[in-house]
């Protein structure tokens, strides 16, 4: 046993970055030391399924905007939902008109980290006559520096990304 090397963990360069490592000679001073703050990166790849909503994303990739309509009560959804909130029955896929109007909007000058580089951008809720619920999207082609309440009611037309990302921004709207 004496000839064997002592057991040790493998070394790596994945250590933490320390911004301060104070240590007083007198242990009674430890309570007044600055907190140690370390950077902890955290990145995850999710294997995410769109489940029963998947045809919506297939639709966007093919230049089609899909909503749903309840087979039992005919309530219609501008953002798809495969079971009706009102009666619980299964919904059917329907194609939505490419032209709608702005129900409400905002211009985002800040945002979550993922979208910060895209600011300023315009968010809208789109409405269609005869469709009971709305659809959240982006509006391009307006002046972000001059928002106006008059944008509510503006006629807008859907456009589709050529290179699909398979997220809801594969469709966006422009003034019709």
């Amino acid at each position: 046993m004496a000839d064997e090397k002592p057991a040790k963990l493998p070394e790596s360069v994945e250590g933490k970055v320390l911004f301060n490592v104070p240590f007083p000679a007198d242990l009674r001073q430890l309570k007044s030391m600055s907190p140690i703050v370390v950077m902890q990166p955290y990145r995850i790849d999710y294997i995410h399924s769109y489940g029963q909503d998947s045809p919506f994303f297939a639709g966007l990739a093919n230049g089609r905007l899909l909503g749903t309509r309840c087979g039992a009560c005919a309530y219609s959804y501008g953002t798809p939902r495969l079971h009706c909130m009102r009666c619980g029955a299964e919904c059917e896929w329907i194609e939505l008109p490419l032209e709608g109007s702005v129900h409400t909007f905002t211009v985002c000058h800040f945002g979550g980290e993922q979208f910060l580089k895209e600011t300023p951008f315009v968010l809208i809720l789109v409405e269609w006559p005869g469709v009971a619920t709305l659809f959240l999207s982006r509006l391009a082609g307006v002046d972000c520096a001059r928002p106006s309440l008059d944008w509510v009611g503006m006629k807008v037309r859907a456009r589709f990304r050529r290179l699909s990302r398979f997220d809801p921004t594969d469709v966006y709207f422009v003034p019709a």
Binding site: R81, L123, L136, T169
Partner: protein, 438 residues
């Protein structure tokens, strides 16, 4: 169900960042304050408290799952039972009601509810992203998920529907920042003017930096008791408690996606009549149906017929100036469409405080006398409990002792409401508190 009393509470200092403490130690600050206020020793409290509820919103902010059990052991409450309650921005209010249920049902005599959030552990942009993940991650978040943007869309529709003005929204900021100047617990203690609110950096049109609450580190706790629990505490401390009774509780929900909200009939409160809202499509995205549902249930339980006349103050969830105006209406303090004119009238201000603006009426129903989320901060899991603590102190008449000055004390406050609200009005809870000592 049995009567439930709010006996004592504590609030840690709310700040942009508290790197000098972990979340457990921050909760202990609030807990120690509550125990000292009651005159109860730590070991005795651990013996008497039957159970706890842990209130925190986001596992992402800490990258720590099951954090509640770490607070439970830090407070010396093991092996007593505990559970976690979570519901976005309404987490604190939901946890408060969960504690109420545990006592009202007869399961426990004394329940501690503790809440916190440590939002400084990521930068603000990442924090915005985490919060936005509390919107539909398939259909809403990827479009440009940002909560201030969602609320901005809601108020644009409110402006369009009812003529609500940017100046009316700014007055909410003036009021709440003006109150917080006198609240030592508040994160922001600087008075602002209508002009400053409008000139501040635009976040999501029309909401500026001063229309929006900030991210915070902070903690708050409350202790709830049955009558037997109160007697236990009084025996242990040798003092008469000065509690508030939880006279009413209510809750409501709405669809996660704003796009899914229906456009139908208004849900009426007792003081409203069919025909009050001709042609109004409700709730759409301009109103919070969950807030109306929660208020209606809480008022019914507390026997309130006309809230504006029967409440002495309200601490409500003003994450945005706009949502305070919308909430006046949901809670029936003003009719739908009249929230903007309600703040303009001066009624939700505190009487006798100088806000630097001329108001037509003296304050009659102070709303957010503490300064609300806009100025106190919004450490999510602590926020609804902070409201409960400040409401208790109002009802005890003890604001002077806790704040070091009397300016925010609502004179002879006998009944108040607290209101906690999550993302775009998904979860909303309202609780009514009444003074319960001579």
């Amino acid at each position: 169900m049995r009567p439930v009393y709010l006996v004592c509470g504590g609030v840690s200092k709310f700040a942009k960042a508290r790197p000098e403490v972990t979340f457990q130690a921050m909760v202990k600050e609030a807990y120690d304050y509550a125990l000292a206020d009651l005159g109860l020793e730590f070991g005795k409290a651990a013996e008497l408290v039957d159970a706890s509820v842990a209130s925190y919103f986001s596992d992402h902010f800490m990258r720590q799952l099951k954090a509640g059990s770490m607070v439970q052991d830090y407070l010396g409450l093991c092996p007593k039972p505990s559970r976690r309650v979570e519901g976005g921005g309404a987490t604190g209010g939901l946890a408060f009601q969960s504690g109420w249920e545990a006592v009202a049902s007869g399961r426990h005599e004394l329940v501690l509810v503790y809440g916190w959030e440590t939002m400084s552990r990521v930068n603000t942009w990442k924090g915005n992203e985490f919060i936005a993940l509390a919107s539909d991650a398939n259909f809403d978040y990827p479009v440009g998920g940002f909560y201030t943007g969602y609320y901005a869309m809601m108020v644009v529709r409110h402006m369009r529907e009812f003529g609500t003005s940017l100046e009316q929204m700014a007055l909410v900021s003036v009021k709440n920042h003006g109150n917080a100047v006198h609240n030592p617990y508040a994160q922001k203690r600087t008075a602002v003017s209508v002009e400053q609110v409008r000139a501040a950096e635009m976040v999501a049109w029309p909401l500026t930096l001063l229309d929006v609450c900030v991210m915070s580190d902070g903690a708050a706790v409350v202790l709830l008791a049955s009558e037997a629990g109160l007697a236990r505490l009084e025996r242990a401390t040798g003092r008469r408690a000065r509690p508030a009774r939880v006279a009413g509780v209510g809750g409501g929900m709405d669809a996660m996606r704003m796009a899914d909200r229906p456009r139908g009939e208004v849900m009426l409160l007792p003081h409203e009549k069919p025909g009050d809202y001709p042609g109004l499509k409700y709730p759409g995205v301009h109103s919070f149906r969950a807030g109306r549902m929660a208020s209606k249930a809480a008022y019914a339980m507390a026997g309130i017929g006309d809230p504006a006349a029967e409440l002495d103050f309200v601490e409500l969830h003003d994450a945005y100036t706009s949502s305070e105006i919308q909430t006046y209406e949901d809670m029936g303090l003003a009719r739908y469409g009249e929230g903007g004119r309600f703040v303009e009238s001066g009624r939700p201000f505190l009487p006798g405080l100088d806000y630097g603006v001329a108001l037509p009426e003296q304050g009659r129903l102070p709303v957010n006398p503490s300064g609300g989320l806009l100025a106190c901060g919004h450490p999510v899991g602590a926020t609804g409990l902070m409201q409960a603590v400040f409401a208790l102190w109002q009802l005890q008449g003890s604001i002077g002792r806790h704040f070091g000055n009397e300016r925010l004390q609502v004179r002879n406050a006998r009944r108040g409401a607290i209101h906690s609200h999550a993302g775009t009005g998904t979860y909303v809870v309202v609780s009514i508190l009444e003074r319960a000592f001579p």
